[in-house]
């Protein structure tokens, strides 16, 4: 007796189903392993280099010894500057797009502009910063130039996040406020923005994480190979963590001997950025759970 052809195809179909799901799991597992390998390797090699002294002293002996304090401080200034520039503009832009703008050519132009800006490579932002802030506006290679360049880079991130947060505010909130005779601007500034604040904060924290890790935009606009003192004004050059990693790994006087310093700096940078991003992800998760409308 010959086997039922329907049963054979069914068996074959279930076999391809099993193979497919196995492939999916294997792919995800491999990605997880690669990620664990990267973080594990950085941590295993980096934690020995980290000490209180490493975090609080400047480099010494032409950057073969000492710590990374000026780079930490520099990254802090650049990041804070970038957010101080991008946050107000980004939020205003999001408010305009969600609350005020009517569909039309101007809004389409804005949307295309924001999308394109989000896709510009970071090194092109560096060129722009060099041509515009450093040379044309004569800010020189400085905290100001670097922060403005990074601010331009994170602007699309902040606009998108703020827009989503504002859209998530229930329409009934606005209607209740308007029904009480409150003007539109007061409704936006007293009702909509405070309600959307946690979401906007998440967006800006993600922006901070992005700005802190970028190297190419600050290479020609702010980053110094080495500075012994901390910056005293916004027109000073600064050291920055990502650039310091690059310099130590590729242009140092003794690349092999300074490996521990490199591992330490990489760990500080990776932990800083991962910590910032994790913080944002956690806040977002917490907010989604805690929402009662």
């Amino acid at each position: 007796m010959t086997a039922d052809p329907f049963r054979i195809t069914l068996r074959r179909r279930y076999r391809s189903e099993r193979i497919f799901f196995l492939t999916l799991r294997l792919a995800v597992l491999l990605i997880g392993l690669v990620m664990l390998a990267i973080f594990g390797y950085i941590f295993a090699n980096g934690y020995r280099a980290i000490s209180w002294e490493f975090l609080t002293t400047p480099p010494s002996d032409s950057m073969t010894k000492g710590g990374i304090m000026p780079a930490i401080v520099g990254t802090f200034y650049l990041t804070v500057g970038a957010v101080a520039f991008a946050l107000p503009i980004g939020v205003a832009c999001a408010v305009y797009l969600t609350e005020y703008a009517r569909q039309g050519t101007f809004v389409r132009l804005l949307r295309i502009g924001i999308n394109c800006l989000a896709g510009v490579p970071s090194v092109v932002f560096g060129l722009f910063g060099l041509g515009f802030f450093v040379v044309f506006l004569k800010f020189g290679s400085s905290i100001l130039s670097g922060a403005l360049t990074l601010g331009a880079l994170i602007l699309p991130t902040i606009i998108t996040a703020a827009e989503e947060a504002i859209k998530a505010v229930p329409q009934t909130f606005r209607e209740a406020s308007l029904a009480l005779g409150v003007s539109k601007w007061r409704t936006v500034s007293r009702i909509v923005l405070p309600t959307a604040l946690p979401g906007i904060l998440t967006g800006s924290i993600l922006g901070i994480g992005r700005a802190a890790g970028e190297t190419a935009p600050i290479m020609f606009t702010a980053a110094a190979f080495f500075t012994a003192r901390l910056p005293s004004s916004i027109f000073d050059e600064v050291m920055a963590l990502p650039y310091h990693v690059y310099v130590l790994a590729t242009a140092g006087t003794a690349i092999e001997e300074t490996r521990p310093l490199q591992y330490g700096t990489v760990l500080v940078l990776a932990a800083l950025v991962a910590g910032i991003n994790l913080f944002a992800v956690l806040i977002r998760g917490y907010m989604r759970r805690g929402k009662r409308w």
Partner: protein, 295 residues
Amino acid sequence: MKRQAIERIIHGLLAAVAFTAVAILAMIVLFLFREGLPVFREVSVWGFLFGHEWYPTYDPPSYGIWPLIVASVAVTTLSCLIAVPFGILFAVYVAEAAPPAVKGVLKAVMELLAGLPSVVLGFFGMVVIAPLLQETFDLPTGLNIANASLILSIMAVPTIASISEDALYAVPREFKEASYALGATRYETIVRVVIPAALSGISAAVILGMSRAIGETMVVLMVAGGAAALPTSIFDPARPMTASIAAEMGEAPYKSGHYHALFATGIVLFFLTLAFNLVADYISHRFKEVGSATL
């Protein structure tokens, strides 16, 4: 009356500030051209794009960026060959197969990977992948196209995965239900119904991933090897456009031919990524399934 006037002023102010994003984009184009175009006094557009010799510091200098373009394209293509299958498989798993608890963890993992600074990945490529490649394949250097592609693919996976995942979620439930009702297995439903329905979004994800890879700087600067010659194998060192700009801008004298040539390379890079982004945008809007009503 006064209140209306204030409202109108606020509306105008917000519109003006919102215009900043477009203004910045315009300024980027303006300053790239202002600093980049003067190089075409020394070399023709054709000679710049397709010239085989990039010797910007020689006397007389030679500004042909063809080897840099080829390096960029090679590294990007190779990295996408690795990243596209993994990115899509990851997205399919998260959207269609993962238990809810695992899903949350995986999304957080992807976000951490996406946020990892490129200089950290570049460093990983230098100290781990390079010696590995060098010993395994007995090469003169482990800093080459293969290494850069491998590291870039790690960076491209999160982009491709997260956008593909959104596209998969957007497929209407009814499609899947109809497929199951006809007796299709989950595998058949995913491969024959869900993925084809999400194909426009997935294509957009792939193109955006490529655009990121082409524009990525630190990884290729640190691990691609830096040789400005036409590569003949994936184990040759190469110098993509972004690496060339980042490595040489510090040494190029202000307003020299070299300086202008690097800005002109920036123009090429800008329009290349712009084209990628516009195509991705067009695909995802043009072929979007709005719901069951469109069928």
